[in-house]
């Protein structure tokens, strides 16, 4: 599996090699030097950047370099093309001429310079581009990890359920239920946007708790009444979705305090919090599944439930716990999504159950139960995320993307079959 992920990474790295345009202080310094070399020390220069952190660094470095050499910096634009127009107008109105424009790739592409016959975009001096795959940009890799984190966390519970030869279709709806119930709790009982950190944590646990209860209900139906998991969780999927739409009256609930956004949007040790949480939970789950008795029970139930029962495994209690864990993790996913998108919404989590089951299956867990690895699921989730991200970066038509994802899922199950017969 990891082999396939690596292949995909290499494939998309090759396919997305594109010209990259540096910005920031080094690039600014470089542009300053180029202008001095081309136009001499008396160059009259306009510096055009956007109002972003990197661009401000670029502008500052360029201006420092130019001024140190004695060049004349006529003005600095720090904003949009409209600001550039106004600045150029006022410079020309004073009767000055512009020799060169220090710009980065983006501001050089603005068409505003061609409005003025004496300026023109040919006067833009930009930093030298270099080649690098879009896919391998740090910001892209981070966002792939960040986008996958929620699916991957829900997939932990799903892996456990599938290893017991069960299935849980309700996770998508539970994402919505957790999102809506915690948002409503915070809005109605904790003062909405004014809520304190303690109340936010409490609100998050209310959402997770409700989903854990829903998961326990699933487990109870499966164990006590022998209803097939497919049917029980299908019922829960509809009930939870209906309930969340009812509670939220079909609308989104944006009245949340900014403390709520830390989980989904904050960073710790340079990693986005969802990614960090994902790593911690996977390590924990791996430990549980491979080192603890509970984990061994889960595998033995999936292998042969009757044999497990006869050899003294508390089958019902274990199954109940597994469905409860799955529900609680779906709830956690819902809280994270709410935090990322800064609103509770009954429309969240649509089709997540399929995304998550796909990640588990691609990760090599058998739908027949008894086989599978936690880290396999993590890799499965990343395989799907990398394919999606890569296809978006290579401009694959949205409809074709669905075909590819469907084919990947089918192929993964095919491999599972072939392995069993081999």
């Amino acid at each position: 599996m990891i082999f396939m992920l690596l292949l995909l990474v290499i494939l998309f790295s090759v396919l997305t090699v594109k010209q990259q345009h540096p910005t920031g202080a080094n690039a600014g310094d470089q542009v300053g030097k180029t202008i001095l070399a081309q136009y001499g020390k008396g160059a009259r220069v306009l510096v055009v950047t956007r109002d972003t952190e990197e661009d401000r660094g670029f502008a500052q470095a360029a201006i420092d370099r130019l001024k140190a050499a004695g060049a004349d910096v006529l003005g600095q634009v720090n904003g949009s093309a409209i600001d550039a127009r106004k600045t150029i107008e006022s410079i020309l109105a004073e009767g000055q001429t512009i020799d060169a424009i220090a710009a980065n790739d983006v501001t050089a592409k603005w068409t505003v310079y061609d409005r003025f016959p004496s300026v023109g975009s040919a006067k833009c001096v930009t930093p030298k581009p270099y080649m690098w795959p879009n896919f391998l940009k740090l910001s892209n890799l981070m966002s792939v990890a960040n986008q996958t984190a929620i699916y991957a966390i829900i997939a932990i519970g799903m892996t456990m359920v599938i290893i017991t030869a069960g299935i849980d279709l309700s996770v998508g709806s539970l994402v919505a239920l957790a999102s809506v119930s915690s948002a409503i709790f915070i809005r109605d009982y904790c003062g909405g946007t004014e809520a304190s950190v303690t109340m936010v944590v409490l609100g998050a646990f209310v959402g997770i708790g409700i989903c854990a209860a829903a998961g326990a209900f699933n487990g109870l139906m499966v164990t006590a009444f022998q209803i097939p998991p497919f049917i029980v969780t299908l019922g829960m999927m509809m009930m939870a979705s209906g309930l969340s739409f009812r509670l939220a009256e079909g609308r989104s609930i944006p009245e949340l305090p900014s403390a709520f956004f830390w989980l989904g949007r904050g960073q710790t040790f340079g990693l986005p919090n969802p990614v960090l949480l994902m790593i911690v939970l996977y390590l924990l789950a791996h430990f549980v599944m491979s080192r603890m008795v509970f984990g061994r029970y889960i595998y033995s139930i999936g292998g042969n439930e009757e044999a497990a029962r006869l050899s003294g495994v508390p089958v019902k209690r274990v199954l109940l716990a597994v469905y409860m864990i799955c529900g609680a993790l779906a709830g956690l996913g819902g809280i994270m999504l709410t935090s990322q998108l800064s609103a509770g919404d009954p429309k969240f989590g649509l089709m997540y159950e399929l995304e998550v089951i796909a990640a588990v299956v691609v990760g090599g867990t058998s739908l027949m139960g008894g086989q599978g690895k936690i880290f396999g699921t993590l890799i499965g989730a990343f395989i799907i995320a990398v394919i999606k991200n890569g296809m978006n970066l290579t401009d694959v038509d949205p409809f074709n993307q669905k075909i590819v994802l469907g084919a990947v899922l089918t192929a993964a199950v095919l491999i599972d079959r072939l392995k069993r017969h081999a």
Partner: protein, 331 residues
Amino acid sequence: MVRLSLAMILCLLMVTSGCGKAPSESSSKIKSQDPASVQNKGTIGFSALTLTNPFFKVIADNMQEEAAKHGYELIVLSAERDVKKQADHVDEFLVKGVSAIILNPCDSNGIGPAIKKANDKGVPVFTNDIKYDGDEGKVVCHVATDNYQGGKLAGEAMVKLLGDSGGKVAILHFPQAESCQLRVKGFHEIVNAHNGKTKNAKIEVVATLDGGGVRDEGFKGTKDVIESNPDLAAIFAINDPSALGARAALEAAGKADQVTIIAFDGQQIGKQAILEGKILCDPIQFPDQIGKVTIEQIIKYFNGDDVKTEILIPSKLHYKEDAEKDPLLKG
């Protein structure tokens, strides 16, 4: 055997990404002959609400055409109403280094953090059809149909229909959407103004139901309304699918001749229904205009012109006479 299957998947992937890659490869070739930077001024990313609704497909196609005219390449992605997916699209646009981003927000609030992210990277964001409501990020310009004016047109059509006789009217609403609230508001305004002037021929709105903007909800709602108001004279539906649902319910109840429907939108199915006399008329929207105008604003923005924060495109009443002139409809 495992290796074999892996190879199979990868082949498939290569093929698909190969198809998708073709246009962008050719555009990078243009880029390499550098004086032709006039040829390729950059890319614009568009994350549509959904591409399965023809309305947004028309917007996307027209934007693509208009962007190409001005030397921009438009990347179209479909968020399928999932706001998380749309936020991920924005991430990918930023990685690709697009010059501008266009959105049909899947959630008027939830898309805020993504817009903020684009703002922080200095990439301007434009919206069309659906407005962003929050205050976290900044949208340069919003282009949409003037729904309020369209609602008024529907009201005028209703007054023209029932102005002399008066009668009972039901509204098939979709209150979740701000655009539909505006449509109904405009409608009420004209009808109320008429009722203020007349004594006997009052147009009475007897029911406002949630038709969900879809066929089956419109069908169910209308069935209930004609049960409780057997003498209903007309229905105003906020879009074509719910109007057609209403029509089906009227036909089933044998009241198709008694109750007249005025709808909204002017999608292909709606225009066809107008031609067939199933719907009296629609204030129609112009998705092609919405697309073109949006791109025009982006061009203006990069050209340093002042851009208005909101542009509303007026709608027009479309009757059977207009539908007959339309070459795309089958008579």
